[in-house]
Amino acid sequence: MTAQLPILTVAPLLFGAFAVTAGRFLYRRANYAVAALALALSFAASVLLAVQVLAHGTTTYFVGGWPPPIGISYVADPLSALMLAFVSGAALCVFLASKAEIETSYPLKNSAFFALFLLAAAGHMGIVATGDAFNLYVLIEVAALSGYAILAQGKDRAMLSSLNYLFVGSFGASLYLLGIGYLYLMTGSLNMADLSAIIGRLGGVGSSTALAAAFGIILAGLWVKMALFPFHSWLPAAYSFSAAPAAALVAPLTTKVMAYVLVRLIISLFTPNEAWSVPAVNTLAVGLATAAILYGSFCALGERSLRRMLCFILLSEVGYMVGGAFLGNRAGLTGTIYHIFADLLMTLCLFLAASNVERATGGRFSDMGGLFRRMPATSAALVAGGLSMIGVPPFCGFFSKWYLLSGAISAGSYLFAGALVLSSLVNAVLFFRIFEIGFFRPAPGQDGGGQAGHAAPPPLGRDEMPLARLIPLGVAASSLVAAGLLAGEIVTRVAGAVIPPGLG
């Protein structure tokens, strides 16, 4: 049983997707329960796997019993096991929180939405778990195609934005495929552990043009997929016009899982010393990351609705992760790994809170007056997410910034360090502007009192969402503190276990 855990994290989602598609014709009412059960099983398997891997070390499962390099293997080392638990937990939270929304937004297409939701979650988890470079490409496409389909269901421009995302996303995935082609050409293998050994024997990235080209093309593909600065234009449109549950699922997962693939590429496929051996690539990556941080922060300042603002913050967070991965030292890479987890939780918490706010007010800043009185619990979660984005100590956002900053300073990338600090300041402006509106502006329908006297404020919790939406949000918000308090554990037992020793 325990040997099969890596595949059991993904299998319930795939079977669940088939089951809800078939259930559309059999017994439609059970579909929500079936999908929730699939997600819960997957989450349970991931947690068990994480506990087991952290206690006993890496578990590998050979699909179909074929050992590598011939077969596909699913590898759960401390990093991927914890990532699986986070991804499945996030998917479960979003699914439980958006029950009412799914049922009202897509009354006739429930089953299709459930199936796509499960497939998107399965794709993202498969990307994390797989140990085979080509299988990774297929799973990227599984995750992306179901992502395009659920993001397309939304208001006015959603279809066009999603189609645009499809063009850019397929371009990025194709580049990844091309890069894998060059790797295969040089090594004759597709299994990551095997590839890594053969690349080492060949003499590393610098030894041949084809290997360097493979590295560069794969990097470019991943940067397109994770919306790093010059390739970012699809992200804000695709995530802001779609229905809220779709954005709340895809936003925390896609960019973070792609950042995970980047870390995997650096640590497991090439070794860090190899991946950082070309100074031009490091300079380019850190430069683009700096640009992404600044661009995301300043565009976020100009936005007037909650979800669009979060989308631009997401762009600058991508800069954090890419920059840290190419600083060329242990602290930077540790910061990137920790920030993948931290940013997943922060984005989850903020997008869930934003979808509650949107449901009650429409999500424009001008309609959010009196928010803290009208929706106290949602606002509390929004504050937690905001403070974590700013980087206030007990929350997890602080610790990733700490590692990234110390990495940037010891690498001498003062521009990147400056961008990190500046983006924290801008985040503070962004979130305190919302807090100011929520606390001090009168709620719509309450005419501000004027000189004549104070109109009665709305009753406490007037627009608050039902508990079914608040509990997942509360879990997400408290996980920010939990991940912050456990930062030392995550850094030593996860990042420390996968980063090769002896790295400066």
Partner: protein, 127 residues
């Protein structure tokens, strides 16, 4: 000059796949018609498939099965089947991508009455 030409002939398929890939990329970027963008994406992906298949190609190669007369298989006699098998998967993926893209285009056309990107954006802005 002769050496350069010989090098070109040896690596001909790489130049070919790259040229085809750039044609696809050009269509994806420069065309405003959504269907033409889709065609460009198709060309782009097909070029990568050609690259994979060409790396396993071999003149006079046999199918990779055990020879019943000798009971053994001679790896030198057959073309590497793995790239072709990988590309079967990639073809499935690209068909699925195209399917999703066409479904989206159909819906866009139903909603806005056009498949020209700038026309759709103008109509959205006018509303």
């Amino acid at each position: 000059m002769g050496g350069l030409l010989a090098g070109f002939a040896d690596a001909f398929h790489y130049y070919a796949y790259f040229a085809i890939m750039m044609i696809g990329l050009f269509a994806m970027i420069a065309k405003t018609n959504l269907l033409k963008k889709c065609i460009g994406l198709g060309i782009f992906q097909t070029a990568i498939m050609l690259f994979y298949v060409s790396m396993g190609a071999k003149t006079g190669a046999d199918i990779p099965i055990v020879n019943p007369a000798t009971g053994t298989a001679d790896p030198a006699a057959y073309a590497n089947p793995l790239p072709q098998v990988l590309m079967l998967t990639a073809i499935v993926v690209s068909v699925a991508t195209l399917g999703v893209a066409l479904a989206l285009i159909q819906n866009i056309h139903r909603d806005s009455g056009s498949i020209e990107e700038d026309e759709i954006l103008r109509r959205l802005r006018d509303e």
